[in-house]
């Protein structure tokens, strides 16, 4: 079992908060798709298995790709890997790119899951974020997708936006429920350096995130979603049981993945690597038959730390048995006192030999994870 991620590094316009790798210059799009196709061949033996159960087009804005471009990539994947018949194939799409026609095309290519970048239903906020769509397009895009027969839909939401009141947020949540989507990813606005927002905050033109407001929105959301069948199976992900993101779940469970395209990360079970985050340089390297790839070997403790870090974010928690078998590490024995302490504080519980964070604990998942980290070189 393994997953494949394809990074599509183009956007029509730059969202003010986004620090992913993308370019608003789409001239190189065709060349880049060719390069990705070449990279697929070059790295066909990267994964420890040929069997692929998830494919994920992320970005950037994958919905900028034409039918032919998506098709080229999927064909190349299918010819070099054994893509499962029922593989989950996700495409990230912006509402303004979604029409009945393209939906039909995507479906015909085997895309069976859409991740729609709605972010907000408030025009004012969408404008502030520099999104290309408005609230109405957001609503109609989801509707069109459902009408086209795509049931596995997830939408992205952002909370903690400046000036967003709790009433407005509750309204947003109500609209999500009305749309009847089976999955939502909701992220707190994060100020990243190197973005327009980061620049504004540094210059004092924009206030830093109002943490109290963002926390209240988060808690409110967790309540509303869980009451309506959308289970929080990861810190930022909510879904009905049969609609959890299989691809993302693989990341959290340590399943190997191959990342293609500029800036994409890969993991073969022991090493993690990342491609050049520069479109022309990536294309040039691939065309010259070189690998635009930096790699880092993960030690057993690195992998154990990652297992703890990602596992604690999920509803499955971390499994003592897995840690014994995979990492030869007796977690329970080593951390008895810390485990007891966080259980006593109501931050975690023990279920079937797994340590799982409670709703209160999830709020502190990073701090708790780092307390459980093993340091390679004590210094």
């Amino acid at each position: 079992m393994a997953g494949i991620y394809i990074h599509v590094p183009f956007c029509r316009q730059a969202c003010h908060y986004c620090d992913f790798h993308f370019s608003t210059n789409t001239k190189l799009k065709a060349q880049l798709v060719d390069a990705i196709v070449k990279e697929i061949a070059q790295r066909r033996n990267y994964l420890p298995t040929k069997s692929i159960s998830t494919i994920y087009f992320g970005g950037g804005t994958p919905s900028l790709l034409s039918k032919d471009e998506i098709s080229k990539i999927l064909d190349a994947l299918r010819s070099h890997f054994d893509v499962d018949d029922d593989a989950e194939i996700t495409l990230e799409a912006n509402p303004d790119d979604i029409t009945a026609d393209v939906l039909r095309e995507w479906k015909s290519l085997g895309i069976n899951r859409l991740s729609i970048g709605i972010q907000s239903f408030l025009d004012e906020q969408l404008k502030w974020m520099n999104r290309a769509h408005n609230a109405e397009e957001a609503l109609s895009s989801v509707k069109s997708a459902q009408e086209a027969g795509i049931s596995n839909i997830t939408i992205d939401l952002i909370y903690g936006l400046p000036g967003l009141s709790i009433d407005e947020w509750e309204n947003e949540l109500a609209r999500v429920l009305e749309m009847n989507v089976p999955h939502v990813s909701a992220y707190c606005l994060t100020v990243e350096s190197g973005t327009a927002l980061g620049h504004w905050v540094a210059k004092g033109k924009e206030k830093p995130i109002d943490e109290d407001a963002a926390n209240a929105q988060f808690l409110n959301m967790v309540d509303v979603f869980s009451q309506n069948g959308l289970e929080q199976y990861e810190v930022s992900n909510f879904g009905r049981t049969e609609f959890y993101s299989q691809h993302n779940t693989s990341y959290w469970k340590g399943v190997p993945y191959l990342g293609l395209g500029p800036s994409a990360h890969s993991f073969d079970g022991k090493n993690r690597g990342w491609n050049l985050a520069n479109n022309p340089a990536y294309i040039k390297a691939i065309e010259a038959g070189e690998t635009p790839f930096t790699t880092e070997t993960l030690s057993t403790t690195d992998r154990l730390n990652e297992y703890i870090m990602t596992g604690l974010r999920t509803k499955w928690g971390i499994d003592f048995q897995v840690m014994r078998e995979r990492f030869d590490f007796d977690f329970e024995d080593q951390y008895r006192d810390v485990i007891d302490r966080i259980i006593e504080k109501g931050w975690a519980s023990l279920t079937d030999g797994n340590l799982v964070l409670t709703r209160k604990g999830l709020f502190r998942a990073d701090g708790i994870a780092s307390d459980f980290f093993i340091l390679n070189h004590e210094d």
């Binding site: 991620y5 992220y187 707190c188 994060t190 943490e211 109290d212 963002a214 926390n215 988060f218 990861e234 810190v235 930022s236 993302n248 990341y251 959290w252 993945y257 990342g259 800036s263 994409a264 990360h265 890969s266 993991f267 993690r272 990342w274 880092e296 690195d302 730390n305 990652e306 870090m309 990602t310 974010r313 999830l362 709020f363 502190r364 998942a365 990073d366 701090g367 994870a369 780092s370 307390d371 980290f373 340091l375 004590e378 210094d379």
Partner: protein, 595 residues
């Protein structure tokens, strides 16, 4: 003896002493190109990184001119105020000194005070203008400064460059011609002065000495006059790039002795070596037991490492006799040691060496000077830790150590320098124009004001154009109060400081504000308070962390996030839990970083 020349170098930090010394070694063939590491004389990593010589060393060179062969002993001197006693002993071992002045910067305070020391010991001064290869060199102006100071002929000043090698020949010739050969009687009873010592893990303590009178032979039974201890001279010799054993050394020679000494504190710089069988009539003058000037608590971050810390300090003391320590305990930090240092640089060096050489993670508390307290019962004692200060009801008087500070600066910065010194409770005692553009200011100031951020501030306000030196001048009564810091209502003794009453409110406020910055947000709110006695004079709050989890964690985020959390874990390991509050190492030094 007439072919021996013993000399040292007097220079300010960064004036190129080490580079020029390397040139002399190269030119005399003492060291080959291949062996020439940068700054050969500084052989501790730490020294090389800091670009200063912490401990003095010595090296012997051979130089031939006009058919005569000469033996040169170059004695290196440390360039920092903390080590001024060691400088004075190095100077006492010589007949001459190279005065190296950066031609782009002119004379600095430290150079002047060392120069005065050299003149007091009647050393022949050879002035050298270094860095003449730089465009910004001001030879006329700096020569004028030198002439004013030592009253030499302008033609006696040798232009040089450590970088290009210019002037090296002239310097070597001048050493032969101008530095007098040592005097002394090889037949008299042995009188040798220890000017330095080093620790060698295989051979124990190696003492460096200069023989004033008499002769020492291998296997002689010797006595160190001030400590009264006796040893066999297992090995004696001269200091080339490596040690070279000799059968005997006599008056005028500089050499080393190995005699199975295990602890540095048995070898005191300035002590006299003589023979047990035929002792000298009197010890060499100028010996002092070096006293620590600055005190601070050193605690292991992990309380379990206490014994290991003790062992590390013991080992450090083997080669650094100026470090003193005694066990103490703190309600906040548990068991640790109160350590005495020569100065702030010395303290930093010890802390760094503990971390680097012994892999000890330690907390250093706010440093303080040694106070003198007199109780209402008329008892007087030393207070090296603010928490030892008697209760105000029983306290009749507190005295604090004062120093005479000498500052040399450009005349355009006099205003700023004065207001800084007055701000630090200084009293102007003298003001002299060295040249039309350079002023020497003298202040009487409390030492306690110097140990904090004085030197950095002086550098900043004078844009680097101020140099500074000081000497202790005794104790003065002072209106000092103990400022306590409370975290969530609990007093943290390790954060207490003695400060002048007039500054208490301002400092209290600033310390609280600084601590708010340095103490990371935790699961609960933290109240930081400054108090004098029971009166709270300032308060700040560290807000509780409500949420500690990032939104996204996908394929591309995992590596970065893991590294971030690893770093956090390392940070936590360096924190100390006091009550229920985690305090990072650097918060204990908050008082030092108030601006």
């Amino acid at each position: 003896m007439k072919h021996i020349r013993n000399f040292c170098i007097i220079a300010h930090i960064d004036h190129g002493k080490s580079t020029l010394a390397d040139r002399l070694l190269q030119h005399t063939g003492t060291i080959s190109e291949r062996q020439l590491q940068e700054q050969t004389l500084d052989d501790m990593d730490l020294e090389r990184e800091r670009g200063i010589t912490i401990k003095s060393h010595a090296i012997q060179m051979e130089y031939a001119i006009d058919g005569e062969k000469y033996v040169f002993n170059l004695i290196d001197t440390p360039g920092h105020v903390d080590f001024s006693y060691e400088v004075s002993r190095s100077i006492a071992a010589c007949e001459g000194a190279l005065l190296i002045v950066d031609a782009t910067q002119g004379i600095q305070a430290q150079t002047i005070s060392n120069l005065y020391l050299a003149l007091e010991h009647d050393l022949e001064i050879i002035p050298v203008l270094n860095k003449m290869d730089l465009d910004s060199a001001m030879p006329e102006e700096v020569t004028e400064q030198i002439v004013d100071l030592i009253g030499c002929d302008p033609d006696d000043v040798i232009p040089a460059s450590g970088k290009t090698g210019k002037g090296v020949d002239e310097i070597l010739k001048a050493v032969v011609e101008r530095v007098p050969a040592p005097k002394g009687d090889p037949e008299a009873p042995l009188q040798a002065m220890i000017f330095d010592s080093v620790f060698n893990s295989f051979r124990g303590i190696i003492a460096y000495f200069r023989i004033l009178n008499g002769t020492i032979r291998k296997n002689d039974l010797v006595k160190f006059v001030n400590t009264g201890r006796k040893y066999g001279a297992d090995e004696i010799g001269v200091l080339k790039l490596d040690m070279e054993p000799r059968k005997e050394l006599s008056a005028g020679d500089v050499g080393y002795i190995i005699s199975g000494i295990k602890q540095a504190k048995e070898v005191k710089v300035g002590d006299t070596i003589t023979l047990v069988d035929r002792p000298c009539g009197q010890a060499i003058k100028g010996f002092e037991d070096v006293k620590p000037m600055v005190f601070a608590g050193i605690y292991p971050v992990d309380t379990e490492d206490y014994e290991e810390l003790r062992a590390s300090l013991e080992k450090l003391q083997l080669n650094d006799a100026s470090l003193v320590y005694e066990p103490e305990s703190s309600a906040a930090l548990g068991f640790g040691f109160r350590c005495g240092f020569l100065g702030m640089l010395h303290m930093e060096i010890i802390q760094e060496r503990l971390e680097r050489e012994f892999n000890m993670t330690v907390i250093t508390t706010v440093p303080n000077v040694g106070y003198r307290a007199t109780t209402t019962n008329d008892e007087t004692f030393e207070v090296n830790n603010p928490s030892e200060l008697p209760d105000p009801n029983h306290l009749a008087m507190v005295e604090e150590p004062y120093i005479k500070a000498q500052i040399i600066t450009k005349s355009s910065f006099v205003g700023q320098v004065m207001s800084l010194c007055i701000d630090k409770r200084g009293n102007l005692t003298n003001q002299v124009y060295l040249t039309s553009d350079r002023v020497e200011l003298s202040f009487d100031m409390p030492l306690g004001e110097i140990v904090f951020d004085f030197y950095d501030k002086l550098k900043t306000i004078s844009k680097g154009y101020a140099s500074f030196d000081y000497h202790p001048i005794g104790y003065k009564e002072s209106k000092l109060v103990k400022l306590d810091i409370l975290l969530n209502g609990d007093q943290v003794d390790a954060l207490s400081a003695l400060i002048h009453r007039d500054n208490a409110y301002d400092l209290g406020k600033r310390i609280c504000a600084k601590l708010r910055e340095l103490i990371p947000r935790q699961q609960f709110e933290i109240a930081i308070q400054a108090a004098i006695g029971t009166k709270v004079i300032a308060r700040e709050t560290v807000r509780a962390v409500r949420k500690d989890v990032t939104a996204k964690c996908y394929g591309g985020d995992i590596t970065r996030k893991r590294k971030l959390l690893e770093k956090q874990k390392k940070g936590k390991k360096r924190m100390r839990q006091v009550g229920n509050v985690e305090i990072p190492q650097k918060a204990f030094m908050a008082v030092l970083q108030l601006d």
